[in-house]
Symmetry: C2
Subunit: 241 residues, 2 copies
Amino acid sequence: MPSNNLYQYSVLSALMSGAASSGAPLSHILSHGTHGLGTFQSLQGELIILDGSAYQIKSDGSVTPDLEKDDPDRIIPFAMVTPFEPTTTSTVSFGSKQELSEKISALLPRTANHFLAFRVDGVFEGVSVRTVGGQISRHEGLVNVGKRQTTKTFPSIRGTIVGFRSPAWFQGISVAGDHMHLISEDRKVGGHLQDLRAGMEGVRLSAATIHRFDLELPEEDDDFRDAQLGVDDEGIRAVEG
Amino acid sequence: MPSNNLYQYSVLSALMSGAASSGAPLSHILSHGTHGLGTFQSLQGELIILDGSAYQIKSDGSVTPDLEKDDPDRIIPFAMVTPFEPTTTSTVSFGSKQELSEKISALLPRTANHFLAFRVDGVFEGVSVRTVGGQISRHEGLVNVGKRQTTKTFPSIRGTIVGFRSPAWFQGISVAGDHMHLISEDRKVGGHLQDLRAGMEGVRLSAATIHRFDLELPEEDDDFRDAQLGVDDEGIRAVEG
């Protein structure tokens, strides 16, 4: 497990086209790293992997912890994961998710053609997260599923953001730009991050540049084989932005 | 070195934008497989890797063999390589490169969202190959370099095609569709394959589906870092089609 390899199972455009009924066992995903994000069979919630533990954040607001112990065979149709060994750490402040992205760019300049892994720890304010609640039919695409997503806001959360940045030219394979999931320190709430600002004392940002991207594609998966995959840039921005 | 992993160094769009001055040593490329293709520093010719041996096909028509022994540190700015363990083999006939692609699709159906590696051995007729001759300035893009490429035709060649197929949605990262280099059995001539037909007795086509794509990006390479990478679909078709 070489440091800061990014392993990805399947491609985002497969979820966009509704291919989310099969995947790899969670234990296989976790064999590639300790820091990651993804989703579940039928798009039932958000996956966050933090310090080697896997959590399912559901649209009813609940969080199921310790999936790696209780359900190692859980099917994961899409995930990104890395061992994550940060090469740089800084205390930062920001007033929006966009400003957080700018802080990451400042910390690791001239990395537009590389992948980044990052983590942010601390108190966040004005937090907005969303969680997808699952497909209502087998091939429902992520954009439609996203229209029914649950959005929650919190005045203040102490917790951690797990994130990846992918090059713009990777749109459709991954999410171009920053993709972040958040979980609270008490592991009670979280979701796909929509917006937030750093708390008064600032937060701790750790990051690493990634030069190696290992993509595993579903093998015996009829939905994936037959999916019409392409780059739906507008759709991805709508649901993952 | 798991079977039929496809390893790729850098991305095609880096060559399109003219980033071809640095890369990985040939020995590093060859540690990932025995069957591959690519190019050289400053786009000086075509790389073909066959049965673990590396050849440089130059625009003057000459072929330099045994690069892995004589020049293991040779800089390779772009390459794709796999151990290649074919899962299916068939004797086929075809009247054009397009028909060869159709034969490959028939041999491995429903693989539009996967990578394929293939090899074709036998006597080919009406062979047309081209070879790029190198950049005339450091950042000259592949499309311009391709405009000066040397094209050669041969009535008949006994030899081998090394090829990869990438999904349409991989355009820019690799060459979408089929990318083939050919070398003669006597290792005297070859190049990037433009057209051909199978000889009277048919040729032997071997292929495998690839579910794992491992991408390594240049690390300490200013040209790569600063390149404006995007998908130049028309340009890629012009030079790699």
